[in-house]
């Protein structure tokens, strides 16, 4: 087995890989940017190497520096996590050249699936159904308008190198095309250094259903059933669950079989995910893209199947066959994941800053993957997701109840988080009955401010008033007995401003 693995990532996913390494008796090497010297992955890894300034381009995306850290530490393999260099063919190829194992699929598979047009064509050949769209790249906004007329609105403008919602824009009518096209190109250039885009029809009433597949270098491929990730905003997933409440047993098996067949067709090994757009009425499904990496939401699959996907990745990268067969994969119970982000739950704007108090949920059937700790300052340079909270239950209902109580237990102060949003989603009729689609947040969720309905407002008002009083008292800026006491009059006669 590998003796030492370098993790070319940060945050919770770096912790996830460190844990797998520890359990396998492998030394883990963290890398960190200037902004991350205090980050938990540096603290928990066996070793830690500095790889550059705060901006990702100069550190976590800096291939030379990462390779140098591998050589300095003597790491025999690299786990890329998700994001950053995880789906970068050049990086995978470079490691191959340097004689360092890449824990992921072959560069050829990354390449093939990384270009969304090639991916679509390949999948069509392998017999996987796909959504109608542009025949290839769309060079200008004018071309986009032409293509859109053929495919029909609404359309999606998508970056060929994009992922995770970056470099993607939904357009409902012709007048919006120009601005959206530019925005998608800008974002794509900014994040991926490549501004090529294409166009697809936007399927209505859609659900996001994805199939986890896993292959080894011996040619075995299995699937680990589906995840539903339809609770999204701006194509950023918020809540995921497995199994999906909408996919019938026979469709689930069919989606699994098609995915395994397709993965075999391209000689895929390591963890991979086939994303489908699923019509909640007709139960049709269309291939969207394949993610050639570990997904953020992989824990829900682990919770229902009992399989440790990261350990399997490491084993497969070393050349071992899969430790489980398709017949060993049984979905037991139900798992739901909530992505906890440092952001304003009403405006969705990121809210990095200093964490004051932090206490994570614990207890039965709760899993926490978090890199938050008290007095940690969340850097502004990276993703706002600071934790994943996963609950398992015998039934979907129980899993929801558990997630709810774990959210109540989660203490994270000093920054705003989307916990109130999660609480509100878990309370929504369309979530509870499973009928939600990817348009849930935008169309069905309703008044965002309503998410602050769960607690007694008086608790907040009284706490603020007593602490404000204590503040004045401690600063000595106010003398108790000298204040005129006209409260009742004020209360009855005078309105507050604003």
């Amino acid at each position: 087995m590998f003796k030492k693995i370098l993790i070319a990532n940060r945050g919770e996913i770096a912790l996830r890989v460190i844990r797998a390494c520890r359990e396998l008796g492998i030394k883990s090497v963290a890398v960190f940017s200037e902004a991350d010297r205090n980050s938990l992955h540096v603290i928990l890894a066996d070793e830690a190497y500095f790889v550059g300034p705060a901006p990702s381009k100069e550190s976590y995306l800096n291939v030379d520096n990462i390779v140098k850290a591998c050589k300095d530490s003597g790491a025999e393999a690299v786990h890329p996590g998700y994001g950053f260099l995880s789906e970068n063919t050049d990086f995978a190829a470079r490691l191959k050249k340097e004689g360092i194992a890449f824990i992921g699929p072959s560069p050829e598979c990354i390449d093939m699936m990384g270009d969304k047009i090639t991916a679509k064509k390949t999948m069509q050949k392998a017999g996987v159904p796909t959504v109608p769209g542009s025949a290839g790249l769309v060079p200008t906004a004018e071309d986009a308008i032409k293509v859109a007329k053929e495919v029909g609105y609404p359309i999606l403008i998508k970056a060929t190198s994009g992922g995770g919602g970056k470099g993607m824009r939904l357009v409902h009518k012709e007048s919006e095309v120009k601005a959206a096209f530019k925005a998608a190109q800008n974002e794509a250039r900014n994040f991926f250094g490549d501004d090529q885009v294409y166009i697809e029809r936007y399927v209505q009433n859609p659900k996001h259903i994805e199939i986890q597949v896993f292959g080894d270098k011996q040619g075995n491929v299995i699937h680990l059933y589906e995840r539903e990730c339809s609770i999204q905003r701006r194509h950023q997933k918020i809540i995921e669950e497995s199994p999906s409440p909408s996919v019938p047993k026979d469709v689930r098996e069919k989606m699994g079989d098609i995915s395994v067949k397709a993965a075999k067709a391209i000689g895929y090994y390591s963890a991979g995910t086939f994303e489908f757009i699923f019509d909640s009425i007709t139960k049709e499904f269309f291939f969207m893209e394949m993610n050639t990496r570990l997904q953020v939401e992989h824990p829900i699959t682990e919770m229902v199947t009992g399989v440790d996907l990261v350990k399997e990745q490491i084993n497969v990268a070393f050349g071992k066959p899969l430790s489980v067969k398709q017949t060993d994969i049984v979905q037991r119970g139900h798992a739901i994941e909530a992505r906890i982000c440092a952001e304003d739950p009403v405006t969705f704007t990121p809210n990095p800053g200093l964490i004051r108090r932090c206490r994570h949920p614990q207890g039965p059937f709760i899993r926490v993957d978090s890199y938050a700790y008290p007095d940690y300052e969340i850097p502004i340079h990276y993703d706002p997701m600071i934790a994943k909270l996963i609950a398992w239950g015998h039934t979907r209902e129980e899993a929801i109840q558990r997630l709810n109580r774990a959210l109540d237990e989660f203490t994270l102060t000093g920054i705003k988080t989307n916990i109130p949003l999660h609480k509100s989603i878990l309370d929504h009729k369309k979530f509870l009955d499973g009928s939600y689609t990817t348009q849930f947040i935008e169309k069905d969720f309703g008044d965002l401010k309503d998410m602050f309905r769960f607690l007694d407002d008086r608790v907040f008002l009284i706490s603020a008033a007593i602490e404000a009083y204590n503040g004045y008292k401690e600063r000595g800026s106010w003398k108790h007995n000298e204040l005129p006491s006209k409260w009742k009059n004020v209360g009855r006669d005078k309105a507050l401003r604003g």
Binding site: K166, T411, F454, D456, D457, V459, A464, A495, G498
Partner: protein
């Protein structure tokens, strides 16, 4: 000590009366009856983890952040932002001559981040919903739009600038 507070668009009056063993709290929502709460000091206890607050026979671990007239109160995974004025600070605000929560005549950044693009110039007449600038923070681009018709008076940032939360970005005249 008397405070005026605002929460969810409602106005409140809160009197804090400190006694040796308890807090006497009089709370009144505008237009509603006032209620009095006698809170033993043992029930509002400052600890390292925050304030352990037993209220209405329920237990809360509360964290209060802020000073002056702006407070954020966190508990049980949620939070509230509460503007809070006592007589003195009300006076203070009135001297400044501005409505504390009045209509906004400027655009401030709601987060620390980087200015990616600016879509207006000084003198522009902008309409509600019109994009003003794009900020990037935590890998996310955020388009900031106008909320009411106004004229751009001054732009205080340049493309590429890094700004702190609360920084003044654009001034308007209505």
């Amino acid at each position: 000590m008397d405070f005026q507070a605002k929460l969810k668009g409602k106005d409140y009056l809160i009197r804090v009366d400190e006694q040796p063993k308890y807090w006497g709290i009089t709370l009144q929502e505008k237009g509603q009856k006032e209620e009095f709460h006698k809170i033993p000091k043992e029930h509002f206890k400052r600890m390292d983890q925050g304030v352990s607050f037993l209220f209405d026979e329920s237990s809360y671990m509360v964290d209060v952040v802020g000073e002056g007239t702006q407070y954020t109160v966190y508990t049980r995974g949620s939070y509230r932002e509460i503007p809070l004025y006592n007589d003195e600070s009300l006076l203070h605000e009135s001297l400044k001559g501005g409505g504390a929560m009045g209509a906004s005549d400027s655009l401030k950044s709601g987060m620390p981040g980087k200015i990616v693009d600016i879509m207006v110039v000084v003198g522009d007449n902008v309409e509600p919903g019109q994009p003003l600038l794009i900020m990037e923070a935590m890998k996310m681009e955020n388009e900031m739009k106008a909320t009411h018709p106004c004229v751009v008076k001054e732009i205080l940032v340049n493309k590429g600038d890094s700004v702190e939360s609360g920084a003044l970005l654009i001034k308007f005249e209505s």
